[in-house]
């Protein structure tokens, strides 16, 4: 059952590790990014901290967790379409699709490596935060944090599958990728709490799942909230999954069959 996902994971590891410098630059990228927010905190932190009273942390601690967490959201949202486009451009998608492997297995297996990378990134964030910047994670509720992680991956995975449908049909043009990289990053509380936004943008943010995911993760990491205390955020993420999972899988099956009818599976 796990032979195929493991084969994908092994293949992706072998391919990624053949680019030796990528790992190193990824580490430095995270370090530089954290350092940037550390100095922003020193400059403007005192002005933002009052907005973070409900989380009980300073700006640097807040943005560190949300940035690390946002990497996971990116996996859920971007990896499906990115990996499918990657396989199309390499010319290997048809070779994989001609094997008796279920589309759902291919889709999930393609994202596994991105998930592993995001976890490594997360570990780097945490290690740097604890040992270099002395951020305190003593109150973290591990169970709540894990549950929020899983729900976030699943809910954004649904959007990711829909965005992969766009790639299968239109080859380029991914509206969901644009939404997460710009709109959601801006108004959902990743870089700053949403209370600093104008009231109409705060209202809009209430309709985005990432807003609830970020709040849930900050509360579980810094305030140690239990699952019961996070019922509103978890409920919203669950609702999102229940509605979007069947829709996204049906849409993906439709897009694959459309590409098969058009003979465009391998086109990019």
């Amino acid at each position: 059952m796990l032979r195929k996902p493991i084969a994908f994971l092994k293949k992706d590891f072998l391919m990624e590790s053949s680019y030796g410098m990528a790992f190193l630059f990824n580490f430095f990228g995270i370090f530089v990014s954290i350092l940037g927010y550390f100095f922003i905190d020193r400059l403007f932190g005192s002005r933002i901290t009052p907005h973070l009273e409900e989380f009980g942390v300073n700006y640097f601690s807040y943005v560190l967790v949300s940035m690390a967490f946002f990497g996971y959201v990116g996996v859920g949202l971007g990896s499906f379409s990115d990996r499918i486009r990657g396989e199309q451009m390499q010319g290997t998608l048809e070779a994989v699709l001609v094997t008796p492997t279920k589309i759902s297995t291919i889709l999930l297996s393609l994202t596994l490596w991105n998930l592993v990378l995001a976890t490594i990134d997360m570990a780097i964030y945490i290690l740097l935060a604890v040992f270099l910047f002395k951020v305190n994670f003593a109150h973290t509720n591990i169970l709540s944090t894990i549950v929020v992680f899983i729900l976030t991956i699943l809910s954004f995975g649904c959007l990711g599958i829909i965005s992969a449908c766009f790639i299968m049909i239109f080859k380029r043009g991914n509206p969901f990728g644009w939404i997460v990289s710009s709109l959601e990053g801006l108004i959902s509380g990743v870089y700053f709490p949403i209370t600093v936004l104008p009231s109409w943008l705060q209202l809009l943010a209430q309709f985005l799942p990432i807003t609830y995911a970020i709040r849930a993760i900050e509360f579980s990491v810094y305030k140690g909230y239990t699952l019961v205390q996070l019922y509103k955020e978890i409920g919203f993420l669950l609702l999102f999954i229940i509605v979007l999972l069947p829709i996204s899988l049906c849409l993906f099956k439709y897009s694959i069959n459309k590409a098969r009818r058009e003979g465009s599976l391998a086109q990019y």
Binding site: A7, E94, V98, P100, R260, G263
Partner: protein, 264 residues
Amino acid sequence: METILEVNGVTKDFSPAFSLSGLLSSGLRRPSATRALDGLSLTLTKGSTLGILGPNGAGKTTLLKIISTLILPDKGSVKVNGQILGENDERIKASVGLATSGERSFYWRLSGRQNLDFFAAMYSLGKKQAAERIKELLELFGVTYQDKRFDSYSTGMQQKFALMRALIHDPEILLLDEPTKSLDYASSLELRNFIKDVLVKKHGKTVIFTTHHMDEAIDFGGIFMILHEGKLFAYGTLEELRAETNLPTASLGEIFVRLTGGAK
């Protein structure tokens, strides 16, 4: 003899991909579709060799991709090894091995063996079973460079790996799209003999191949199918084609030119 492939009235049209420049150049009219296959029907029995001949754009590759489930026909039906296309695609995939001439269908930064390992897993071969099968295929094809990176292989070697991949799950039907396209004469001859003597005669595989080379088709033997503009122009053994065209001494090439009007 047991029927392994039934193609009934298959038609396939390809619409040009949407593009702004295409729309403007066609005066905002929807560009017309290209007919790749036009009401094609054929039946093939187990253990046969079918050579699909036709000029560029005749629909040869489209037919192979339909049989391998990569493309769905617009009209008509296809039954492969008793399974209906569009209903039991997973089973069709398990009984078909496709080798295209596009060497880009491998992971270039992996070695040949790592590629075969990956695809063996995709065909649900267990670890031990995969290792044994890969060893067997490497010996069969006389390949000793399996641990070098795929992009370092010669085109001929890449073609051998494409064939090994198509055979890794021991399929009933082998679909070969221009199998000797990039091979030198000696390698091409070796491969043809391997397909004829080992795959067809010894293991009873059904082989369907496309080619532009009449000599090669004759060497493979079996049944020939001449496609032109998606239509079936002739189907049968060389003797049957000669009888059908009233050219009792003609070569396959002469029959091809007569039927297709010398199309390239």
